[in-house]
């Protein structure tokens, strides 16, 4: 954490000098006034210099990116984290050599990383963010796979006239299935069970 204590004739002067030392601007820092400063008689006697403590505010998203990088380096040393911020949603893109290790079986390691980073980021920041951790386009590839799976299983449900139960998935993967089949006539979808075993059921509907 970067912080300096600076003094000046007035609080304003002190803050200014601190900002110069930290090479930053006023909206990037927290200011704590330690001594108000007094103008003495004729500016000579009993004058007190103002003292302030200025701390550079940490950017929580940058912190989270560093945190993610630190963990990801346990898997592959050359990992690169790219951050994109869109409204309340932060996407961290991982790329590097042994990226398959970071994704894990059915993305379980990636999902765990995403969860941990989200918890960490929302602890640090005042605004709530939604975190997406992606690696080598995994999320969009997974989405395509899930949509394929959904249409295939919906066919099966219609043919056999029986409900098809999918394996448990996290909420955003279930959402992909639901929205893929929303427009399809002949089936309806709903989720059943309690987290973390909540899963989609595809049910054929009578015409």
């Amino acid at each position: 954490m970067k912080q300096v204590t600076a003094s000046g004739q007035t609080v304003k002067d002190a803050v200014q000098s601190a900002l110069v030392q930290l090479n930053t601007s006023e909206d990037q820092v927290d200011i704590e006034v330690i001594e108000e400063g007094k103008k003495g008689m004729l500016g000579l006697f009993g004058s007190k210099r103002a003292i302030v403590k200025v701390t550079v505010k940490e950017n929580p998203i940058e912190q989270a990116a560093l945190y993610l990088k630190e963990i990801a380096q346990a898997f592959s040393a050359d990992v690169v984290v790219t951050t994109t911020l869109e409204n309340q949603s932060v996407t961290f893109e991982l790329s590097g050599e042994k990226i398959a290790m970071i994704i894990g079986k059915r993305g379980q390691t990636l999902n765990a990383l995403q969860h941990i980073v989200q918890v960490m980021l929302n602890r640090q920041s005042a605004i709530r963010y939604r975190v997406v951790v992606d690696a080598e386009e995994y999320r969009s590839r997974r989405k395509a796979t899930l949509e394929q799976l959904a249409t295939r299983l919906a066919d099966k449900a219609i043919k056999t006239k029986k409900s098809v139960t999918l394996e448990p998935m996290p909420s955003y993967e279930r959402k992909v299935i639901h929205s893929a089949l929303q427009q399809l006539p002949g089936v309806e979808t709903f989720s059943d069970g309690q987290e973390p075993n909540r899963h989609v059921v595809i049910k054929p509907v009578k015409k």
Partner: protein, 75 residues
């Protein structure tokens, strides 16, 4: 490995300086005991153990290149 666990856990708790990891080697497994401040136990475990589960997933995945099985105990 201890460093990884500490760096995962430290930013999640209120008392990062109280985060310790102890290693116990048993026959076919390595057991890591994660010790945090009493007040932070809930933060490491999370709702329905979700955070604990995520930490374990990451640690186990990172430990696949070691020969022994890895366990993570949170206390």
């Amino acid at each position: 490995m201890e460093a990884l666990i500490t760096s995962i856990v430290a930013p999640l708790v209120d008392y990062p300086e109280d985060v310790h990891v102890e290693v116990k080697e048993e026959q076919n497994k390595l057991v890591f005991h994660l010790i945090v401040n009493e007040q932070d136990v809930g933060k490491v475990i999370g709702k329905n153990g979700r955070i604990a589960k995520s930490i374990r997933t990451i640690v186990y995945a990172a430990g696949t290149d070691t020969k022994k099985r890895i366990y993570l105990d949170i206390m």
